[in-house]
Amino acid sequence: MALVGPSGAGKTTVLRALAGLRRARGRISVDGHDWLDSARGLDLPAEERSVGLVFQEYALFPHLTVRKNVEFGRKGGAALLERFGLATLADAKPRELSGGERQRVALARALAPDPAVLLLDEPLSALDAHTRGEVRTELQQLLRAADRPTLVVTHDFEDAATLATQVGVLVQGRLRQLGTPAELVASPADPFVASLTGANVLRGRARRAQDLTELELPTGELIRSTDPAEGDAVAIVYPWEVTLSPTPPDDSAQNHITGVVASLVPVGNRVRVRVGPVTAEITADSSERLGLMVGERAVASFKATGTRLLPQP
């Protein structure tokens, strides 16, 4: 499971409370063992909780070798070093390692005592952008192999979706929504969850128009949706559901927003294009074919059936 949210949402606080590094009230029970039960005055110290915590900056002991780090919690980590591809680095000190290697050491060290729960605090934030994708895939495999209840905390929805089967959105200490990544994308509970999952969020006033709902943007443009709504509302459209063209196309799409191309950001084989208030994600191929350039006009189109409406909180 992953917890996603903006900084200051209380994600790390949740991890620290689970690990016993921070005072908390309530009840924590793992595998039938109570760790915390305020009602009974029970609060196990961190060293008595069966928890493996991977810290944000990994917190490897700088004075100990990789082997000694991994064996700190429990002796006999040879198999673990082998499994994490660290056997050749066993006698190196943490400062000699790359970011990805450090993360593997931190994970191996946390798993060595065979904890009941594995906690990871922003496991990818200490890495460079170009190693991040690779390490993320590697981490996904290692977590799957570790096969135990795992809680990952991150501010990045993509990281959460890759590493976890269940994602909880935490904002200002409250759980806004909990579901699979697909569920969060398909039906976000509120505009914040929608923007976190990468959607375009357009604010306006909604009113009924025959069978559909029309949302009037502050710019005067109208967006149509098959969802019902009344009054202040937001339209939610995912970038991969937006098409671009030089002139308004004659097709089934109901919504067309004309604007100036503000930015073109290549992401792998795709390009994220900002047109007026909307971000579209199209293939690099299409972008080239259309000859899109910053500063020129383009039309962003999307279907009324692919446009979700939510009341504005």
Partner: protein, 276 residues
């Protein structure tokens, strides 16, 4: 005008350095080196050396043994009155050693604060070697504890937390993680404290007296020999200079020690826990 000031500053620097170094050099040029070594062979010098080494080592060991966990407790915790505790620890630094001697006398002496209690156990410390040890420990401990607190404060919180989540109990966190990580600063603080303890004079003289072979340490021997055998006094002085230079070189040359010196100002109290 600017040139004039620059020149004046250079002259001031030259005067400062000469003023500080010249007397030290004078010790070695006043009497030929061979004669200095001979003078160290005198019974007064030899007795003082034995007393000094013995009392300094015992006092230093006690300071390390008690001071290290004490510094860890103070350095790693935020509590009410912490600033006051830090100031109290530094008190012996600003009180003249002679005053410290009187203070120890009225604390541990026969008619002192704890004297009656000690007497009941048949113990009388003043004017014994135990008094020398107490006097040395009293004046040197702030030097060690100050540096040790700063070194423990400098340790990254998450490293100690990581040790705890790996099941390490408090003593193991202290011994396996905190002390090794603070080792550089602890070593430097220990060297400075030892040097200060060896040179202790005022508190020892008042609290322990100056009995050759019993309580007469090297600094006291210098004072005692001053009118008897000036060469012996000078030779012991030379010994101190050599030792002092050794400590300074160690502070400059041992990498872990050098790094820690810059830490030796108490950091303002910051919360030991982070949250984001």
């Amino acid at each position: 005008m600017r040139h004039l000031f620059a020149a004046a500053a250079v002259v001031a620097a030259a005067i400062t350095v000469s003023f500080l170094v010249l007397p030290v050099v004078a010790i070695f040029v006043h009497v030929p080196p061979g004669k200095l070594i001979d003078a160290l062979g005198s019974s007064a010098a030899r007795d003082a050396l034995v007393v000094s080494i013995k009392t300094s080592l015992i006092a230093h060991l006690a300071v390390l043994l008690v001071g290290t966990p004490a510094a860890y407790a103070i350095g790693r915790n935020r509590f009410r009155g912490r600033a006051l505790v830090l100031s109290l620890i530094e008190l012996p630094l600003v009180v003249p050693p002679v005053v410290a001697g009187i203070a120890l006398l009225v604390t541990f002496g026969r008619f002192g604060l704890l004297g009656g209690t000690l007497d009941a156990f048949g113990l009388s410390v003043s004017f014994t070697q135990a008094a020398v040890v107490i006097a040395i420990a009293f004046v040197e401990s702030p030097f060690y504890i100050r540096g040790a607190i700063a070194s423990f404060e400098g340790i990254d919180d998450t490293l100690l937390e990581a040790a705890r989540t790996l099941g390490a109990r408090p003593f193991r966190v202290f011994a396996r993680v905190a002390v090794p990580l603070a080792a550089g600063g602890l070593g430097a603080a220990s060297a400075l404290a030892l040097a200060r303890g060896l040179g202790e004079f005022g508190a020892t003289l008042l609290f322990a007296g100056s009995l050759q072979g019993v309580t007469q340490t090297l600094p006291l021997a210098i004072y005692a020999q001053f009118e008897v055998s000036f060469d012996t006094a000078l030779a012991i002085g030379a010994l101190f200079v050599v030792f002092g230079v050794t400590v300074l070189l160690a502070l400059k040359l041992i990498p872990g020690w050098t790094r820690s010196i810059s830490l030796w100002t108490f950091r303002s109290a910051s919360s030991p826990s982070t949250s984001s």
